[in-house]
Structures are given as C-alpha cells and as structure tokens.
C-alpha cells in the first residue's frame, strides 16, 4: 500500500510528456495520443495498488499505455497500418564497415559546416527524416525510444527486450548510420551549391 501512496496525481502528471511522445510516435496524431495518455493515467490512478514499484513507474505506465494503443488499433481496424517494429531483426547481424580491421575509421566523420544553421532549414528536416527512416526497424525503434521519447537506457532495454550489451551496440550503430547519412545527404552537399533533388 505504500506504493499507492506515492502515486499522487502530480507523480502521474510528471510522466505525461514522456508518455505523450511515446503515444505520438505510435499513433501519429496528437489528439489520439492525448486521449491514450489520459486513459492511461486514469487507469493507473484507479489501479494504483497494481503498481508494485519494482520495474519503475514509467515502465508500468508504458505497459498500460501500450494496451491503450493496441485497443485503439483494434477499434479503428487499421491493424494493417499499425507500426510493427518489434518483429524484424535486420541490422543486428550486419557487418559494420565503418571501421577497417585495425579498428581505425574507414573514411569516418568529417567536420560539418555550421550544423546549427541546418536546424533552421526545412530541407534539412526532410533529409533528417529520410535518414531516420532508413535505419533498420529495430534499430530505429531503439533510437526513437531513447532520443525521441526520452527513455533512459535501462528503460529502453526493458521496452525493447534487449540486453545492455546489445543496447550499446545498437545505439552506436544507429549514431554511426545517422551521422553518415546526414553527412552524405546534407553536409557534403552544402559545401557545394545545393541543388534541389
């Protein structure tokens, strides 16, 4: 019962932003995401006794949220479109060619000209999106849980059912891939005059 004492409305509300981002990425609709989060918090508040405090509040809430999201897909009978990122495993066995056998960079990160300026340009965001979508599904999922939703590393591991070692490898590769993609598609091009594709 002590656990439920901790579950005040404020404690729950504090988790709202993370839950919202999680729901948003799955549902791609802020109104739907908002509803799902609302229902989650309500359900959590009503069943505060069900919270055992073992896995952490956020993990517990995300568990509830996942059900709410699944309910939504079931209701809207759009399961065919529902993102299914957990199943595919590609990208994990992939041999990395970012380094040569001695462990030195194969090519490797060049200096980027004015990345801050890129953030202000719409074309950059289109490229960013392409690069992010180009990650293999499982890698994209892990990357998004960490960097877009804002979960901690151990929460991502629980969420994606990863060992810690696996997590480090996947995030390392995700960053290598993303930076390479951005370099090729954006930062290399900006050195010359940028043509619109």
């Amino acid at each position: 019962m002590t656990a439920s004492l901790l579950l005040t409305e404020q404690t729950l509300a504090a988790q709202r932003p993370v839950l919202f981002r999680y729901a948003l990425l799955q549902l791609r609709d802020s109104a739907l995401a908002d509803d799902a989060v609302q229902e989650t918090l309500l359900a959590a508040w009503q069943s505060a006794a069900g919270f055992e405090g073992k896995a952490g509040l956020r993990t517990w809430l995300i568990g509830i949220l996942k059900h709410k999201i699944a309910d939504h897909w079931r209701r809207s009978a759009r399961e065919a479109v529902a993102p299914d990122v957990d199943r595919t495993d590609d990208g994990e066995a992939e041999e990395d060619d970012y380094f040569i056998s001695s462990g030195h960079w194969n090519g490797g990160p060049k200096a980027w000209a004015d990345p801050e300026a890129a953030l202000k340009q719409q074309e950059f965001w289109a490229i960013y999106e392409v690069c992010q979508n180009n990650l293999p599904p499982k890698m994209a999922n892990v990357f998004m849980l960490r960097e877009l939703v804002g979960l901690d590393a151990d929460e991502v591991c629980r969420e994606a059912e990863l060992s810690e070692a696996n997590y480090w490898v996947i995030m390392h590769r995700a960053r290598l891939r993303l930076r390479e993609c951005l370099e090729i598609r954006w930062f290399n091009n900006t050195l010359q005059d940028k043509r619109h594709a």
Binding site: L24, R28, S30, P109, K110, L119, A153, M171, R175, L182
Partner: protein, 66 residues
Amino acid sequence: MRSCRNISALVSQGMDKKLSLRERFAVRMHLMMCTRCRNFQTQSRFIRKAARRYVDALQSRLDNKS
C-alpha cells in the same frame, strides 16, 4: 592504445550513461589526438539535439492539424 571503433563506442555509451573514470580518461586522451572521433562526438550530440527538435516539430505539426 584503444582503437577508434572502441573509442567511438565509448563516446556513444557516454551519452547514455556515466563512464568509469578509466574510460573517461581513455576517451579524453584519444579525442585530443583524433579529429574523426572528436567529430563523431560532436555529431552524436548534434543528432540528439536534432532528434528532440524533430519530435517537438512533429508534435506541433500534429497539434495544428487537429
């Protein structure tokens, strides 16, 4: 001497957890001499920043839609 593969992996880990003293030292020493690993660190931080902006923008785009 740790390799760039190894150091960049530590740089990546360092963004998600606190490295041990020994690891931090190894990274710092390496980065002093290695431009590419230094670029990797800067760029990984940039990607983090971009990811947050991206999700913020996504959020407001969807907010405007509804």
